[in-house]
Subunit: 159 residues, 2 copies
DNA sequence: AGAGTTCCGGACAAGAGTTGTCCGAGTTGC
DNA sequence: GCAACTCGGACAACTCTTGTCCGGAACTCT
């Protein structure tokens, strides 16, 4: 039961991109968070593949959000980076062994499977109910607007 | 985001032990489910360490539930086998890099952390709301009482 | 058009975590 | 007392994640 550690980086990047009016390069984001640039690039590529960020190449290129942050949920980022595969995957144990259930009884998912998928769905629903904009609002409400402004200024500063 | 595959085996074992009036050895449970006996033993040991099952050694020894199945939740089994560590673990990113937040601002968990822990708690609550007895009731309600009786008879049969 | 950035995608090694197996310690029944 | 059976934890093999790297394509500025 372990989630990819890159999810946190991706969330922090999504939050930081909220305060950007420029495309921001991956190297800049990595420098800001003091993490491996090569590995962060991989996470950003995953987000790009999921359609969360748009990437522009070239001299002033970089990443920027494709939608307003109020339309990007935390679940979007988690699924983009960590994969949409549910945590619990069945091996169809009940169909094996000397007491194997009849194949017809295995048409519907069993009680264990249902309980696990229900829990997984609850987890996803909780993650889907909070957006990147909500995160930014919480941060500014607690630590003031200076945080976002500081990020924006740092993005606009020369490399 | 992957859960240990042994969780499924452990849940199946807990369900099967519901229908046992004897202690059942790990080898028997493994034969019943057609899985690796040595590895299943490890899961049962974890459950024993968590206090879910009691193990008696010796000739007629084996595992049996310590409480009535209505007092054992699915979350108990999952945490016993997969570990109680939450899926999301922080690296304290906001305290690093050139824009590191002040140490005093890091006293309280940030918005991202709160969202993740809330989702994790929702997942756990969903798993905690269903007990092993509920699983057994669902199975008998769908496939009849013969399933439990078949398991019990197979347990009582000679090796 | 040319040079200089920058992203993209995949290939590649290192590390951690999981999966699976084994044998010794201890207990029970005869 | 003895023998057989059990659990328990220690031990490798394996898979997946983490992290790195490079060549190619695209874009901007001169
Ligand atoms: S559907 Fe139920 S019985 Fe079949 S593998 Fe999944 S948990 Fe086991
Ligand atoms: S508490 Fe927030 S800022 Fe700190 S490491 Fe966790 S997610 Fe990142």
């Amino acid at each position: 039961m372990k989630m990819s550690g890159g999810v946190e980086w991706a969330l922090h990047c999504a939050f930081a991109l909220t305060a950007a009016d420029h495309p921001v390069s991956a190297a800049r984001l990595a420098e800001m968070h003091d993490v491996s640039a090569s590995y962060l690039a991989k996470q950003l590529q995953a987000m790009s593949r999921a359609g969360l960020v748009r990437s522009t190449q070239g001299n002033l290129g970089g990443y920027e959000l494709t939608r307003p942050p109020s339309r990007i949920t935390v679940l979007d980022v988690v699924e983009a980076v960590d994969g949409p595969t549910p945590a619990f995957l069945c091996t169809d144990v009940r169909a094996r062994g000397p007491l194997a259930a009849s194949p017809e009884a295995c048409r519907t998912p069993c009680a264990i499977h249902r309980a696990m998928t229900a829990a997984d769905e609850a987890w996803r629903a909780s993650l889907r109910s909070v957006t990147i904009a909500d995160l930014a609002a919480q941060v500014t409400g607690e630590h003031g607007r200076g945080v976002l402004d500081g990020v924006r200024n740092w993005f606009n500063a020369a490399p």
